[in-house]
């Protein structure tokens, strides 16, 4: 089973994301900010990170930089999931090592499409 780390300071968003990702057969862990997410990644890297941008303590962009420098840190697929929906932010995320980018609000179809795009799930996987 593939693993996905959901990083978002909103417990509601984490809960919605968890339900969608479990439907896509991911084992889900959660973190409420970049710093806690980094601690989790230092113990074991997930296959995927669904990553909010603006969070207290450490934001998503800074977290991604630290995670990418961990041994094996280039492996996880990072999918940003944020209300930052302008070209400047998207470009910054991609040049900083993000694999995909979701502009909130999102739904299960968008998550499934974006995860399929980076090869985390097969194309056209049926949602349960």
């Amino acid at each position: 089973m593939k693993t996905c780390l959901v990083v978002d300071d909103s417990s509601v968003v984490r809960k919605i994301a968890r339900r969608i990702l479990e439907g896509l057969e991911f084992e889900v862990t959660e973190a409420e900010d970049g710093s806690k997410a980094l601690e989790i990644c230092q113990r074991k890297l997930p296959d995927a990170v669904l990553l909010d941008w603006n969070m207290p303590v450490m934001d998503g962009f800074e977290f991604m930089g630290h995670m990418r420098r961990l041994p094996g840190g280039e492996e996880p697929k990072v999918v940003f999931c944020t209300t930052e929906n302008n070209v400047a932010h998207i470009a910054q995320a991609l040049s900083g090592g993000a694999n995909e980018y979701i502009m909130k609000p999102f739904d299960k179809d968008i998550i499934a499409d974006k995860f399929a795009e980076v090869g985390l799930i097969p194309v056209g996987q049926v949602m349960v």
Partner: protein, 293 residues
């Protein structure tokens, strides 16, 4: 909705659009036509049916047909056909048309533009292989409303996140507020035309590639056969037909044959018949010459 109303709408849609609903599609009618009825100040499906039966309902007839025949669509829908387009179809076309360096593509159910624009982006991604080629994409749809949206090439944030890789969004779209518009260069590659597949489409000319996905499923068997036979006359002998994942020609017509290992991809069966047709010169077609990078 009463059984009589449902039967009336089934027959109505069959007569006006060829749409062939099975006996259990009440939910589809309600989900598509209730919003339309409400928009027109009607109480529900019953009143809508009464209006359709009355005199002077031609605008309403068009709206009902459009509401029922508009399909869900998104960029690079099903992905596999676009992989086939890039890896199988275009390499063969580039080889076969190296002399005249032109390619004509028809999206026969172009809808709100995601499919033709996906093809345009795929062609752009091929870069130097098509530099100097004349590329013509004709996108047709039954619905004028849908065509207007396709022409504008403006999509909501939600729409650009369905099937479209983020790199392609960055490369080929311009953000304006909450919406995203596809670049003028790509819009110029596509010619949009209203067309009902039930009517004659010989005037469109001959194509190297025809995408006709997820539209024939709505037609009855005889209509499907009729359309396949007429599509066969509009395709080059060495051209390609692309159908939706749930569609096939098998058991319906021998004018096309499936390409092994390439799901959804078909070739005309009798190249000699197709080759005998005169070459078509379109009436002032919009032709985009691919620029180098």
């Amino acid at each position: 909705m009463t059984a009589t109303e449902y039967e009336y709408l089934r027959k109505f849609l069959r007569d006006h659009s060829g749409l062939d609903l099975s006996a259990d599609k009440q939910y589809l009618i309600e989900s598509r036509l209730l919003p339309l009825a409400r928009k027109g100040g009607l109480s529900g499906i019953g009143e809508l049916v009464q209006k359709l039966q009355g005199a002077g309902a031609s605008a309403l007839v068009t709206s009902v047909v459009e509401a029922m025949t508009t399909n869900e669509t998104f960029f690079f829908r099903d992905k596999v056909p676009f992989d086939h387009f890039r890896d199988t179809i275009m390499p063969e076309v580039i080889k076969a048309r190296a002399g005249r360096r032109s390619v004509r593509i028809w999206c026969a159910a172009g809808s709100t533009g995601q499919e033709p624009y996906s093809l345009a982006m795929s062609l752009k991604e091929m870069g130097a292989a098509l530099t100097g080629w004349r590329v013509e994409i004709i996108a047709t749809d039954l619905s004028q409303e849908v065509l207007e949206k396709a022409k504008a090439g403006i999509y909501s944030q939600f729409e650009v996140q369905r099937g479209l890789p983020i790199q392609m969004l960055m490369k080929y779209f311009r953000q304006t507020g909450e919406t995203w518009q596809i670049n003028p260069e790509l819009r110029a590659m596509i010619q949009h035309r209203q067309l009902n597949l039930l009517h004659d489409f010989a005037q469109l000319g001959t194509f190297d590639v025809i995408f006709c996905r997820n539209v024939l499923i709505y037609f009855d068997q005889d209509t499907k056969i009729n359309i396949f036979n007429r599509l066969a006359r509009q395709i080059e002998g060495d051209g390609f037909l692309v159908l939706g994942a749930a569609e096939t020609v098998v058991g319906l017509t021998d004018t096309f044959k499936p390409i092994p290992e390439r799901r959804g991809l078909y070739k005309p069966n009798d190249p000699r018949a197709a080759a005998a047709k005169p070459a078509f010169a379109g009436a002032a077609p919009r032709v985009a010459v691919m620029a180098g990078r």
